[in-house]
Amino acid sequence: MAKSKNRMGNEINAGSMADIAFLLLIFFLVTTTIASDKGILNVLPPKQDPNVPPPDIKKNERNIFNVLINANNDLLVEGEYRRKAEGLDKDFKEFIMNFGAPDEDAVALFNSFPASLQGQAQRRPDSSDHPGEAVISIKTNRGTSYAVFLEVFDLAKKAYFDVYSERVGLTADEYRALTGDDEASKALQDKGKEGIPMAISIAEPDKVGGN
């Protein structure tokens, strides 16, 4: 043993080892892309029984906000031609929050809103009665590009999330990050959604411009 003590001077210097390890760590941190499971959630309607005719839903035309996207990716928004989807979220939001002819429940709902949201009700007679009735309908052709469809769907979701988050006093990003796992976040989530169902209808595409 005494002999080995004499050779201590020969031991390597491990001081830079930490630096090397950190360099490696940082390199892999930067280059690794972990597959993320982020996206836009949608719940498809249940399968239709061919023996049962589809329910005949009577809805006033003013309660439906129609967006048609054709095979050239042009938009027809409530009968008006549009080239780009930008700005649709504002229109969606105005439509949802219109309160044209609210019933009793809707009046109570309206009164529960913070003042900033109440101020957005335009009360136009040709737009939706109240958020519970309002439906956004997106219809595409088979030849419509998925990217354009997703953009419109994204904007429709944005309109709803804007309303929800404004109602509970969060930013939209914070609201969307709520997981509903614990009670506090579940309560916030439910408070935002209450009385305003996210009614985005995606119609079956018709056979134009596709296969």
Partner: protein
Amino acid sequence: MAKFRKKKSGGGQQIDTSALPDIIFMLLFFFMVTTVLREQDVLVDQKIPQSTQLQKLQNKTLISYIFIGKPKNTSLYGTEPRVQANDVLISSPEIVQWVNQERDKLPEADRTSITISMKVDKEVKMGPISDVQTELRNADARKVLYASTKKTEID
């Protein structure tokens, strides 16, 4: 015993350990290079569209992935968008069977809440997507996640 003692007295020389870190690092490199997080080979083009209203799913085990896009190997599979589930390209009618297989992998309590993450290429038209969705409805897997990445705001 005498033999052993003799050896001990002769082994005073220590092993040179200065090369040890190099060996360890070489091992580290080897494993880092060869490890792939997902061994699934994607056979179709995947340029995921961007959007803003992204939501994250809490439970990753409930997600099954479906890839839709133009096949990478066009000479073998053609240029029309195809659907990939697991490692193979499948046709629409097989989706129901695939969903049921995926569902069987889950614990019984979770089977109803299976979520299908649709990773769809930008270039795909709505036609094939609607076919897939019809099949998913037939399979009663109605929770769908349109996989998307965060849009980088330009304004």
